[in-house]
């Protein structure tokens, strides 16, 4: 017996479902901004491993931060074994 996984357009008043993704970005939550020192970064991936929003991405010679989603928690800077990330104040504005 197989389950008929019919794909039909359900009326929009039937049952709350969602197939579209939220487009909210959390970069504007940030009070402190992580800045990577490219010379110090050895691409050990520790920042990536512990970043809660997983906004660290790989560049050819260093790991960079996606500031659209980085909330500025500071874990990357705290955990970086090479002190390659500094937390600096966001500019006012």
């Amino acid at each position: 017996m197989s389950s008929p996984t019919t794909i039909r357009n359900a009326p929009d008043n039937l049952c709350p479902i969602a197939t579209e993704y939220t487009t909210m970005l959390t970069g504007d939550w940030r009070a402190m901004r992580p800045v990577v020192d490219r010379d110090r970064c050895v691409k050990c991936a520790t920042c990536w491993l512990y970043c809660p929003v997983q906004c660290i991405h790989e560049r050819p010679t260093w790991f960079d931060v996606n500031y659209d989603t980085c909330k500025g928690c500071g874990i990357c800077a705290e955990e970086c074994p090479h002190r390659a990330i500094a937390m600096v104040e966001e500019t006012e504005g």
Partner: protein
């Protein structure tokens, strides 16, 4: 230096293996700054992949938008809000139906909080474990109802401040000890039970591997201790440090249990630091009296002693008897 060369190599190795795998949550989830639950969710689902059905009972995990708001979702795999109280049961029904129609390769799983697991949803967890329902149940234990304003739960430790165990003249934090849920689950003879911490990511990844495999055979339970920077009043940048110290002081023990090999520590509890090293960095313990601290240390020692006995007595006879045909007991 909190991380030695060894840990550094591990981070690289996890990145090399999983870095290219898709993050199955949208970029913008509204977890607090430094949220450890968000870290767990993203890593766990990256590892598990798209062939899965995910339950996130009420709490921070859906609260940060994983099931979405008003018609938009935060998750790329099938995801739903079970009730706080019925996560394991709903998953059991899903699994049974997919098994019935021969779709046995889907990971049917929960990312649930401690309240829905240890307190009001425990009947469902216990029932599903007793029946051997083939699901992966991940409990993200942040020691209370953090999503609704930091009320105490059954896993809130002794002495901890919460909004319902406040600190005042007559009472200073929670007056009871936490229940040890993973030990209770081991007593259910689950296919797999393990504790983990994001301070020890390689260990967590290995346990996820085993837990996923076990979830196709029987009830699989993974308990991840998860500091909450907001509710525990610790700086968001210090979350991983808190994880690490909780383990180094034996406040949290890392072990795994299988119904064939029994219990074993995955990190030695020997040479532990005093528990004070850990609690002094956590704001919710700031008020502790010396007596309360001594109580916590005593309970930590007591628990480790019990676990040692269980681990020492571990392996049962190698060829454990198979259940009779038709039995659902793993």
């Amino acid at each position: 230096c909190p991380t030695g060369a060894l840990e550094l190599r591990k981070a690289g190795s996890i990145f090399n293996t999983y870095g290219d795998k898709e993050d199955l949550f949208v970029p913008g989830l509204s977890g607090c700054q430094g949220c450890n639950s968000e870290l767990i969710m993203r890593h766990a689902m990256r590892k598990i992949g798209r062939n899965s059905v995910l339950a996130t009972p009420p709490g921070c995990i859906p609260g940060m938008g994983s099931v979405g708001y008003n018609g938009k979702t935060g998750t790329k795999v099938p995801v739903f809000h079970p009730l706080l109280t019925n996560t394991a049961s709903m998953l059991a029904g899903i699994r049974r139906q997919y098994d019935r129609v021969g779709r046995k390769d889907i990971v049917v799983m929960a990312l649930a909080g401690d309240g829905g697991t240890a307190d009001c949803g425990f009947h469902a967890v216990s029932g599903a474990a007793e029946r051997g329902d083939k699901i992966l149940y991940v409990c993200v234990d942040n020691e209370g109802y953090m999503n609704t304003g930091m009320q105490r739960s059954g896993t809130t430790p002794y002495g901890s401040w919460t909004s319902t165990t406040p600190v005042g003249e007559k009472q200073k934090g929670k007056t009871q000890d936490a229940k040890n849920l993973p030990m209770i689950m081991a007593a259910h003879k689950c296919r797999y039970v393990a504790t983990a911490s994001t301070g020890y990511m390689e260990d967590l990844y290995e346990k996820l591997d085993k837990a996923i495999a076990a979830s196709f055979e029987g009830f699989s339970y993974l308990h991840i201790y998860s500091p909450c920077p907001t509710g525990w009043r610790i700086p968001s940048s210090k979350v991983i440090e808190a994880c690490r110290l909780s383990v180094e002081t034996n406040f949290v023990t890392l072990w795994e249990y299988t119904n064939t090999e029994g219990m074993r520590f995955t990190r030695s509890p020997d040479n532990a630091l005093p528990v004070e090293t850990y609690v002094k960095m956590i704001g919710k313990y700031r008020h502790l009296t010396p007596d309360q601290l001594a109580h916590i240390q005593a309970k930590v020692d007591e628990q480790v002693a019990l676990l040692r006995i269980m681990a020492a007595n571990a392996p049962p006879p190698p060829a454990a008897r198979r259940p009779p045909a038709g039995s659902s007991t793993p």
